[in-house]
């Protein structure tokens, strides 16, 4: 078996080692999506439309965003800082395996697992909340797939950047917590970003956060103009480039400073 496929396989096996843990992890995810959809259903009980969205559009938005976030923002690299700081990274560094490729495989295993369960849970939520199915233009569908991969790449680079803190400090919880606060607010999980005041909405588009699910959902709901799609493509590419270069730089410096702590 190819070394990277073997890594993918063992990551899955490891993830399924404890049944109760798997069950509780998915129950938490299901509950989060269920709460979001319930809140918006209640908010729309007395009105057909508000914030520029009809009830069915809003439910569809929350529904699609939930699935996309299961793929885009989930990461298996949350413990990377301590892996580096404790010196556990050494076990990977001495093997004939590409470091970033190995991390990418772990991420792929985690996202595939998330997507599989998210699709199963979505079937259940679909029957409860009955989101409206919109016809999507094929070109929009294709672009949204590219943007999903773009969002995955951004999350990957950001996770590696947070992980790189481990070369110098044991603690990355502060910046990581700040990042997840921004994701919750600006990633579009709980509400679409275009309900924010126009200036804030424009500023948010300058950050990488809309590409972590909001932009893709808007595209699938046919709510982006051609100009916005083009500028979205440019913005996404720019963020991938910037974060990629930053990751490369910090890891190169970090590996030179790596202390391989412990015995």
């Amino acid at each position: 078996m190819n070394k990277y496929l073997a890594l993918l396989s063992i990551s899955w096996q490891n993830g399924f080692a404890y049944r109760a843990s798997v069950f509780l992890w998915r129950f938490r995810q299901l509950l989060s999506s269920f709460f979001s959809l319930s809140i918006w259903t209640i908010l729309y009980q007395n009105s057909e439309a508000s914030f520029g969205y009809s009830q069915s559009q809003m439910i569809s938005y929350i529904f699609i965003t939930g699935i996309i976030q299961n793929v885009v923002i989930t990461t298996s690299l949350n413990g990377l800082t301590s892996t580096i700081y404790s010196g556990q990274l050494s076990l990977l560094l001495i093997k004939p395996i590409g470091l970033f490729k190995a991390f990418a495989m772990e991420e792929t295993a985690d996202k595939a697992k998330n997507l599989f369960f998210a699709l199963l849970e979505s079937c259940l939520l679909f029957f409860v909340f009955k989101p409206q199915l919109f016809s999507v233009m094929p070109i929009h569908f294709l672009i949204s797939i590219f943007w999903i991969f773009g969002g995955i790449t951004i999350t990957f680079f950001i996770s590696l950047l947070f992980g790189a803190i481990g070369f110098w400090s044991p603690e990355s919880w502060g910046p990581r917590f700040l990042f997840f606060t921004f994701i919750n607010f600006l990633g579009g999980k709980f509400f679409p970003l275009d309900i924010l005041p126009n200036l804030i909405h424009q500023l948010v588009w300058l950050t990488p956060f809309p590409f972590l699910s909001y932009a893709q959902s808007q595209l699938l709901l046919n709510r982006l103009s051609s100009t916005e799609i083009i500028s979205g493509c440019l913005g996404l590419s720019l963020w991938i480039l910037l974060l990629g270069l930053a990751t490369k730089y910090f890891w190169r410096v970090g590996l030179k400073d790596y202390a391989a702590q412990g015995q």
Binding site: I10, L91, I94, K95, G262
Partner: protein
């Protein structure tokens, strides 16, 4: 032994900058904006060469620089200065062609996947090191048999004993038949029986595959039994490189006489011949252990035999641990003298 060394280390140094915290709460508060750092010379200007098939013992106190040296040889740490060549590679380049030829086993770091059976790690390593199926099966069966772990390789790693886990760690590290093996405290925490099993295995592996091995250990038994050559490091510097017997000859000032007497004797009479470390009177066979100057040990043993009713006598070297302590004491004395002058 081939003529070209397999490992060449030239003037290798590694310095770390470490933060010095002032004591107390104020020290913590001040450290938020002002910190002082100290440079630690973990390894300082070390040079040596090692040939194929050698087992070399790396001895030193905690923090002497043994593990740091091994980490530089493995390509984990970037040297501050100097150069390293292992099997024709610069370890820091981390080339797969080099990584496929060496293994680093750290007694306190686990490469086995904790929640899965060891067999899963073996299969993963087969893929990572690109070992053909047939070769993998043969090597695995051979290692499993040598270490007697057939009944545990399919059990979750976290449920294995320390000894079983260490054996499986060794298998995982040796599946690709490395030519160079860096063993960092492989017997740490193991009981004496398990230590012996692992020593025998390391010796067997060295002979069977002509592997070059560098071993660090706090257990002198490991070094004594496995290594003909020893490198002693103290405070980052190499202080001795040679045969273990040479250290004994140079630093062992005494020998130990173990005596069994057929008739009772008095402690006072025996004390004239050396320092008594053990004396037991049971009325029939009194026994004693005395430490005597090394150069006069034979003469003193002969005198004791003529003056006392000796039933049995053995002359032994002092424990290797004690001799190594002498080496470090000697080094300390030398460095203090150097500082004073």
């Amino acid at each position: 032994m081939s003529e070209e060394p397999i490992i060449s280390v030239n003037h290798l140094s590694k310095h770390f900058k470490v933060y010095q915290k002032q004591p107390g709460l104020m020290g913590s508060i001040v450290s938020l904006w002002s910190r002082s750092y100290e440079t630690i010379h973990a390894v300082e200007d070390i040079s040596f060469t090692i040939h194929a098939g050698e087992i070399v013992g790396f001895i030193g106190q905690n923090g002497a620089g043994k593990t740091t040296t091994l980490k530089m040889l493995s390509g984990l740490l970037f040297p501050s200065s100097g150069s390293v060549d292992v099997l024709g590679f610069n370890p820091w380049d981390r080339k797969p062609a080099y990584q496929k030829q060496f293994s680093l086993v750290m007694g306190q770091k686990n490469q086995l996947w904790w929640d899965l059976p060891a067999m899963e790690t073996f299969l993963l390593n087969q893929a990572i090191y690109e070992i053909p199926n047939l070769e993998f099966k043969q090597t695995l069966n051979q290692l499993i048999e040598l270490l007697d772990v057939s009944s545990v390789v399919n059990v979750q790693v976290r449920k294995l004993s320390l000894g079983q886990r260490m054996k499986c760690e060794l298998i995982a590290a040796l599946l690709h038949k490395p030519k160079v093996l860096f063993l960092d405290e492989p017997t740490i925490g193991l009981d004496v029986v398990m230590q012996k099993t692992l020593r025998d295995f390391i010796k067997e592996y060295n002979q069977q595959f002509n592997a070059t091995i560098i071993l660090t250990s706090h257990y002198m038994g490991d070094v004594k039994e496995l290594c003909k050559r020893t490198i002693i490091i103290d405070k980052g510097k190499k202080v001795f490189d040679g045969a273990l017997q040479d250290i004994i000859d140079k630093y062992a000032r005494n020998k130990i006489l173990s005596l069994v007497f057929s008739k009772p004797i008095t402690r006072k009479e025996l004390a004239r011949f050396g320092t008594i470390t053990e004396f037991s009177e049971d009325g029939t066979n009194d026994t004693a252990t005395i430490v005597v100057p090394r150069k006069e040990s034979t003469k003193i043993a002969a005198s004791i035999m003529t003056k006392f009713p000796v039933q049995d006598v053995t002359i032994e070297e002092p424990p290797i641990d004690a001799i190594i302590r002498e080496v470090f004491k000697d080094q300390n004395r030398a460095s203090q003298h150097h500082e004073q002058s």
